[in-house]
């Protein structure tokens, strides 16, 4: 099982800040996005397939090819605007 987090605008768009997801097989970040979009539909595609969506695996920025392992924390978030 992995934990998936959504922040800021994405949290509001999906109405969801945190979810658990059971890994039945090894997945890359790109694979995970496709799975979530195929399960969730249009609203999820808007969030996960946007050009500027960022992903972190275990709190480190990750691109689509990064492998996800059981127990990982995966986060999706829009470009940051702190400071």
């Amino acid at each position: 099982m992995i934990t998936i987090l959504f922040f800021a605008k994405y949290r509001e768009q999906l109405g969801l800040g945190k979810m658990n997801f059971t890994l039945d097989t090894a997945l890359s970040v790109g694979d995970l996005k496709k799975r979530l979009v195929s399960d969730g539909g249009e609203k999820w595609a808007e969030v996960l397939l946007a050009d500027n969506t960022l992903c972190a695996v275990n709190q480190t920025i990750a691109n689509d090819s990064v492998e996800i392992n059981d127990g990982d924390e995966v986060a999706f978030y829009p470009p940051v605007t702190g400071g």
């Binding site: 709190q59 940051v80 702190g82 400071g83």
Partner: protein, 154 residues
């Protein structure tokens, strides 16, 4: 090199942070940046700002930025404090302070940390306009461009 990274809802005391930094051994220069909430953005009056962050990753990413700064310039200590939650116009949002023996390292490291914090640290701002509507603040091209000066020099 000593670093302190804090994310908190409370305000911070710039004088106290300056004292701590000035006490770093052999410190001759302290440079400090304070980001302040403005009451207008993109032509609208802003009543309140909500700041959200990614607990854990935020602190790690700022620590990593400070570490990179300390590899480029001889700094003695760095402190970053970033507020989250609801902020009103005029409020202090972020503090970046750097202590060094000499001023140039302190100036450059402080600006470097602030520039990378803007582009890498996972914080997000939502503005509540005076008319009651809300909007998430968009990332600014100028913040991405601010990083170019550090790349060219390296």
């Amino acid at each position: 090199m000593h670093s302190r990274v804090i994310v908190q809802t409370d305000d911070f005391d710039v004088a106290e942070e300056c004292r701590v930094l000035a006490n770093s051994g052999r410190c001759g220069a302290v440079t400090q940046f304070v980001g302040v909430m403005r009451d207008r953005n993109e032509g609208d009056d802003i009543a309140v700002m909500e700041l959200e962050h990614y607990p854990g990753m935020t602190e790690r990413s700022i620590e990593a930025i400070i570490e990179r700064a300390s590899e480029r310039w001889p700094i003695l200590a760095a402190t970053v404090i970033h507020r989250v939650g609801s902020l009103l116009p005029g409020a202090q949002i972020v503090f970046v302070g750097v202590a060094a023996m000499h001023r140039q390292a302190a100036f450059l490291a402080c600006e470097f940390i602030m520039d990378y914090l803007k582009s890498e640290a996972p914080f997000w701002k939502k503005e509540c306009k005076a008319d009651g509507t809300e909007r998430w603040v968009d990332a600014r091209d100028s913040d991405a461009q601010a990083l170019n000066k550090w790349r060219l020099e390296s």
